[in-house]
Symmetry: none
Subunit: 225 residues, 4 copies
Amino acid sequence: MIIQLWNSLLTTVPPQHLSARKSPRQARALATVEAIFEATIQVLLSEGPTRLTTTRVAARAGVSVGTMYQYYPHKEALLYAVTGRYLDAIAEAVEKACRASHGAPLTEMSDVLVKAYWDAKTLKRNATRALYLVAMEVDTAALTEGCIQRIEAATAAMFASAPDAEFDDLVLVNHSLLNMLFGTVRSLFTREISPAIANRLGDELALMCRAYLEAAKRPAGAPGR
Amino acid sequence: MIIQLWNSLLTTVPPQHLSARKSPRQARALATVEAIFEATIQVLLSEGPTRLTTTRVAARAGVSVGTMYQYYPHKEALLYAVTGRYLDAIAEAVEKACRASHGAPLTEMSDVLVKAYWDAKTLKRNATRALYLVAMEVDTAALTEGCIQRIEAATAAMFASAPDAEFDDLVLVNHSLLNMLFGTVRSLFTREISPAIANRLGDELALMCRAYLEAAKRPAGAPGR
Amino acid sequence: MIIQLWNSLLTTVPPQHLSARKSPRQARALATVEAIFEATIQVLLSEGPTRLTTTRVAARAGVSVGTMYQYYPHKEALLYAVTGRYLDAIAEAVEKACRASHGAPLTEMSDVLVKAYWDAKTLKRNATRALYLVAMEVDTAALTEGCIQRIEAATAAMFASAPDAEFDDLVLVNHSLLNMLFGTVRSLFTREISPAIANRLGDELALMCRAYLEAAKRPAGAPGR
Amino acid sequence: MIIQLWNSLLTTVPPQHLSARKSPRQARALATVEAIFEATIQVLLSEGPTRLTTTRVAARAGVSVGTMYQYYPHKEALLYAVTGRYLDAIAEAVEKACRASHGAPLTEMSDVLVKAYWDAKTLKRNATRALYLVAMEVDTAALTEGCIQRIEAATAAMFASAPDAEFDDLVLVNHSLLNMLFGTVRSLFTREISPAIANRLGDELALMCRAYLEAAKRPAGAPGR
DNA sequence: TATGAATGAGTTTTCATTCAT
DNA sequence: TATGAATGAAAACTCATTCAT
């Protein structure tokens, strides 16, 4: 049951050729999969994307290549799975935070969103950095879009519930805000920036978001469309 | 004047192992190098980064592999050169726009910056999309940083000349703004977005920047530090 | 006993970059490595050193290139391994013969040495000729020196035990004798010489060695240094 | 005329496919050829046989590849020419020394021979070491044999004129002696040996030759065949 | 005649994937 | 089911040789 939940979070259904061969049924298998995932991140970080080979991942995970291929029919499927699980966690964290902030003032919503996304990324700092590296190599665009859409739905619902704000085009503003948020955070993780500076830039990011939302909202007392 | 001196200093000098083997001397050779550059972009876009092979690039450029290796000792050096030339053009465009806006009102500066960066990227749309793809694979981090620093110097100088605004920490705000600008634009080019929507998002981006700068500037009449 | 300890110490340990990737564990793998060794010799003899390519060796061995690279990280490592095994056999044969002749008359020692070396080389006639061909291309100098030192130790010990001879400078004479022996034999194998003539030259070689040792030994009754 | 002499010393007529394209006619061309020869040796010594490329030789010689190919139709021809000239010089030196020692006592003949050969090799120490490196790669066996035969003829004639010695089989002894001389010297140049030790070994080599000749000559008073 | 840009066959090496044990 | 040896297509890179200028 846990397993099923584990998979079902993906709104995006993986295309046939990218799906895992089998879901881990036993505890041992689960541990194996876990080890493989972890190994993938490790190798990516320590060796770089071009040296990410199936053999190396298997070795690092402590299993044989053959075993790995029993779970994932090819390299792409593996990366697809790792990425999927990661994005799932991010999306869920943001969704949860948004749900909890329905009805809050706009400024608070903004801060909550930034903090949730930022914290989720920082919590999985390794994975975050590692997966930015392969994002373009594998066909994970669909996965990313799926994640974005989940988050977009969550934030749109949240912003729609703001008691102190209305927008002429909520969808556009929301999309634009998220695009900025994702892009900016990506920059911060991709470039080699000291944690201290990164934190100050994180604060500025929060300020940006608030300022943008303020600027984008319909002037108080203005009529709806 | 100081700024100009700075710029040339900041121009990143390629590390030994990434530099080109020789520069084209004859007209024929120049055309060859040009064709190789163009082919690199083409292959990247049509085949994706993992299928970017030296053979394919050479074939697309209409030259033999050997010829390519006469100019670039290996794939990395080629990508480094292509990236370098591209970033140079971007940085120069922004620098020029900034110089022309010294003394303008803050809002105008913001718009000018966004427009200059956006236009430069859009003008080289193909290269832009193509090079985002390889950015992580090759060691172009240094190049990117060099480009960023050139732009940062140019914008800092511009913002310092704004008659209607002062900042408590210009460097931080400037850095933060650019980080957002670069990240957001990256997102827009990386994801598959229709031009129409991209343009609307571009407008929102301009709004964001203005709003952030307004929010970050020291309240009128407030004392300096 | 001291000598034996020495021998094992002198066995040249391959430098990191030239050592084999893994040793064959299963019977199948052992046969594979054996085939690769044999194929190396064959290709060397039939095609010459410049046409000794990894592909050709693999093909002749009846395995795929990939397999070869599982055992040897590159061509040099392969040649190093082949050479090492060959030199080991030679050194061992000579050592054994020397040990068996301790205490014999000088003339007999000389003949035994020449015969042992000559026979060992002749027994592996193909390998002998093949490896002379690559000796200069690969960095096998260390291996060769190691082999020489083993032999030198063995012969020095033997000559020191001669009841009918003493030398002013045993080390020099020994070294000089071996240098001549190795060089002369090399000439005989390298040049295209008919076996009949080669045999006669082999006899002359034995004569040379005896004559040199006679000439070099301290006159009977002369005092030691 | 000098040029003709320069070529004619070769007893061995180069096979069609290995001969130079044209002999240098003008002083400038002569200098060019000289530079190419010198460059070949240099590259061989500094880069090793596998890095001996036509481009590198041309560059080191200060000419373009194209020019080099005007003199030598291919790499082999170049190496053939370099080797040929070198061997010629060696053979000539030995021949001259032998001619001068006709009628001398056997022991003196022996010493003269060793010294002449040794000195000739040492005088061209660089070339000697360099050419041992390529000796096996190119088809220079014929050249070497030619050189050997010239020397063999010279020494045979010399030994035949010895007043104090006769041999049962002069040809065999002569051949055997030279084979030993060549091989031993090769060993001394090939291995990395300090000049001091090399000199002592050189003395031992002279002793060897004398001893062998003494041992091989027909006992005084014994009847001829 | 000299040059050096261009050629492309040939080499080394890697690595995703299969399959006998 | 797990293993890891074997595979071989495909990649990067070299270099002898040619030929337009």
